[in-house]
């Protein structure tokens, strides 16, 4: 579990759970609810470089495609194949088994600049 209270959030509804220099990334419960039935997830490639605020993967519902922006910069070290196989995991457990990918951060300060859960909630 990547508890909401322990995550940092981007205004674009992604969360980052930081352990050392690695951030696990997912989308917020609010985002999964808004997107509704998630039927397809296209994750970044393992080894790819992602940049904070840049589009790095796509989540699709029945009727629409939503861009996902990485909340931090760095190298993708792991992707969650389980959500590729069963995209509805993102709906069911957005802060658990529905995580998307892990990033080895190139700049740890970026995560500090993200919103706390309380601040994120206030933007909704």
């Amino acid at each position: 579990m990547y508890e909401q209270e322990k995550c940092k959030f981007a205004k674009t509804h992604e969360w980052a759970f930081v352990e050392g220099d690695t951030a696990t990334v997912g989308i917020s419960d609010h985002a999964q609810h808004e997107i509704s039935d998630i039927v397809f997830v296209e994750l970044p490639q393992k080894g790819a470089q992602v940049k904070a605020g840049e589009r790095c993967c796509v989540i699709e519902s029945v009727k629409s495609a939503s861009d996902i922006f990485s909340p931090v910069s760095g190298e993708v070290t792991e992707v969650n194949e389980a959500v590729t196989a069963d995209p509805s995991l993102v709906n069911r457990e957005p802060h658990g088994a529905g995580w998307l990918f892990k990033v080895k951060m190139s700049d740890a300060k970026e995560a500090d600049a993200l919103l706390t859960f309380e601040d994120y909630k206030a933007t909704l």
């Binding site: 397809f40 296209e42 029945v62 009727k63 495609a65």
Partner: protein, 358 residues
């Protein structure tokens, strides 16, 4: 200034049932309630209901009502009272203005059900074409609310309301008293499942909505409706066909009755198109690779762009499906590719419908 969105008489009821309302061609309508997948499943396996009050109802009344309908519609309306049929309305060049279902109420009165987005255009066209006919064309859309009750169990559930509903045959219409008011009920729909559509006074249809909610019908939104209709191979007027396409291109040649008694708009052009064949036609596509095609995606064959999708969606039954115009040489089963976000993904051409249950 922003135009104010119209609300159907069922707006509050849809909202109370959990509807997520969106702007659909100027109408505030539910795109979904619980979720598109759950609603799709309800309609395919049990029963769902849709507020379709935005659709239009136009009466043709008078001594020439039949002759007039025959002259503006492609299908043959030589029907006994109580029967209806699907047709296209063509412009002088043979382009599709809209698709309709018209019902014969009696020899001198027809009820024409038209698409919401084309209602004003259709009405203006009918008024213009009615010159010289002894017919009154009246747009009665504002007098009606309309509910589509669809699914394999829909008629069973409705038996409790009125046992006679089950006797109604496909594409027939009947006047029925529901909750003390006269309504029209038709054995039609836009989902590929059996079911009916009810048109009646606003207060009555509101009562019907509550009754259905309490009697097994799941409220369903436009999202599920679009998936259901594309699976069933039903075209969306304005997207899958418009005035730049004729019925043969839209793979709807069967609605053009060249041999009917009366002449109709663009009949000569249709006869020529039929004889010469079309260069392009509407085909269905199933995506085989990873990704979900969307409206506007380009279709490729052997590296060459051959067309684009006019409709596309995720389908719980077939994963990702679409429809689009491609050269008429393309056959059922042909391997093609669809460009999804810059990547070519394997797909297969399919003769529609994808799904058939009625």
């Amino acid at each position: 200034m922003e135009k104010e969105l119209k609300k159907t008489a069922l707006y509050d009821a849809c909202l109370a049932a959990g509807g997520k309302m969106v702007d659909f061609h100027g109408w505030l309508l539910p795109v979904q309630y619980e979720g598109i997948i759950a609603e799709h499943k309800a309609v395919r396996e049990a029963a769902g209901m849709f507020d379709v009050s935005h659709m239009g109802q136009i009466y043709f009344t008078g001594k020439d009502a039949y002759k007039f309908l025959q002259s503006v519609a492609t299908n043959d309306y030589k029907l006994e009272p109580g029967r209806g049929a699907y047709a296209h309305i063509l412009n002088e060049q043979g382009g599709i203005i809209d698709d309709i279902i018209a019902f014969c109420l009696n020899g001198e009165e027809f009820l024409v059900v038209v698409n919401s987005a084309a209602r004003e255009k259709d009405y203006a066209w009918f008024k213009k074409k009615a010159e010289g006919f002894d017919v009154t064309v009246r747009d009665a859309s504002d007098e009606f609310s309309m509910l589509a009750l669809q699914g394999p169990k829909a008629l069973d559930y409705l038996e409790k309301l009125d046992p006679s509903i089950k006797q109604l045959k496909r594409f027939w219409i009947k006047k029925l008293s529901l909750f003390g008011a006269d309504c029209y009920i038709t054995r039609t729909g836009y989902t590929g499942e059996d079911g009916v559509e009810v048109m009646g006074p606003h207060a009555t249809v509101k009562e019907l909505f509550s009754w259905c909610l309490a009697n097994g019908f799941k409220p369903c939104g436009l999202g599920a409706r679009d998936v259901l209709r594309l699976e069933a191979g039903y075209l969306l007027s304005g997207s899958d066909m418009d005035e730049s396409r004729n019925p043969y291109e839209a793979s709807c040649g069967w609605v053009v009755k060249l041999n009917k008694e009366q002449d109709f708009t663009a009949k000569d052009i249709m006869a020529r198109v039929k004889a010469e064949g079309v260069k392009q036609k509407l085909m269905g596509f199933k995506v085989k690779g990873a990704g979900i095609a969307r409206e506007g995606c380009a279709v490729y064959k052997e590296g060459k762009k051959i067309g684009a999708l006019t409709s596309a969606t995720y389908s719980p039954l077939f994963k990702a499906i679409g429809a689009g115009y491609v050269p008429s040489e393309i056959q059922d089963g042909d391997e093609v590719e669809i460009e999804i976000r810059g990547r070519l993904v394997a797909a297969q051409a399919v003769k529609m419908p994808f799904y058939k249950n009625i």
